[in-house]
Symmetry: C2
Subunit: 264 residues, 2 copies
Amino acid sequence: MRGATNKILNLSEDERKNGVVTHSSGNYAQAVALASKKLGIKAYIVMPKNAPQVKKDGVKSYGGIIIECEPTIEAREMTAKAIQDEKEVTFVHPYNDMDVILGNATAGKELLEKNNDLNCIISPIGGGGLISGIILSSISFGNNCYVIGSEPFNVDDAYKSLQEGYIVKNNLGSDTIADGLKTNLGDITFNIIKENVKEIIRVTEEEIIDSMKLIWERMKIIVEPSSAVTLASVLKYKEKFKNKKVGLIISGGNVDLNNLPWIK
Amino acid sequence: MRGATNKILNLSEDERKNGVVTHSSGNYAQAVALASKKLGIKAYIVMPKNAPQVKKDGVKSYGGIIIECEPTIEAREMTAKAIQDEKEVTFVHPYNDMDVILGNATAGKELLEKNNDLNCIISPIGGGGLISGIILSSISFGNNCYVIGSEPFNVDDAYKSLQEGYIVKNNLGSDTIADGLKTNLGDITFNIIKENVKEIIRVTEEEIIDSMKLIWERMKIIVEPSSAVTLASVLKYKEKFKNKKVGLIISGGNVDLNNLPWIK
């Protein structure tokens, strides 16, 4: 929501005129729809046709215009490009964009303003837009506060990219319950991350589910699996974080309540 | 938590000395345990032996000492009385107590301080401790703000008590998914409610479940069925609340995440 809002606020009058288009099946789709609605501009959202009904309902309730496509990255990108050309609207990328990253950075800024003694912040890594914002705010507002990334073993493209020194993509068909983190890094986000991230911690599907359930039970907030990787990382390496003051980024609550991972 | 804290803060040194005891299977048990822990006093919690493990775990994690009993009101009360005599501790009632009611009243006070133009506040009614607090704060801090109570059809003792003019108890064995609202009114709470409540709205089990799910989905907070009766009341009588500014009391998130009512 922060990234989408900042991106759309920074479009020129001309860019906004006919509306915007993005492709996303998750939070960014709803965020673009809502941010556009508030600014009175049209939002076309390309979603895979197998996206959960609850996500489609969310986008619709915020006034987004849904265009369905086949559930592949290529189909998404092609469909978004076609809309962009046909409707003469502006494409807004979900993460590989400095305005989106700077919008996301406000989360880290607010966290550090309230807790200026944090030793470390852990953020999920999917496309890298959120953690890039957190890194920039930790540099500007932190007091020697380092940033750790967190991702599922099943889609550990960021971990591998840092090892190799170039962007490694996830294998086609790789799957994880943390569906918001399946995305590959972009060139802008990779450059920010590789220079500034201290470490990337990988967690298992079971660790993600256990952490998600713990957050639901004790914090009483509904978070999606992609959000729970950060707590899972701390619980996995308790010693590493002993006596440290650690901030966790928890963002996103898209969950199908009829289909919870701990209920067989 | 507000009621338990205020009650325990208002105990004398002598009353606090050996600790406190209460009987509850739900939020009040955890609240008394936590409030006591913070003040460094012992809390004995009498719980029915069939209480869900998640609730027992909550009480234990806050340092409460659990004493199990048979799952009847009589067994609870007798066991609490026995502990009170044996350990020389102070019994704290969950709702029929002015200190508990005044603690609960702070919820209404805060709501009205932030929204001084509310026409109405809807509160759940179980034992009546929460709504009694809301009534007192609406009188002191509201601007012609009336209070409506909300309860399940299945345990509509408050509705019937107001009709009859004396405390009507729920039939033995009456059941509802809103388990926090099964309690009968006490003499203190009944007297406050009968003089000041505008109306009591009754809702069905299905309406409670639908409202609870809607709150989870859109507000991303975990509320228990007993909390959801207030939203269910508004959705049931939309016309009644048209053009009114309505405050809803939502309190309590004790839910067994392995057993959700909308999953068959």
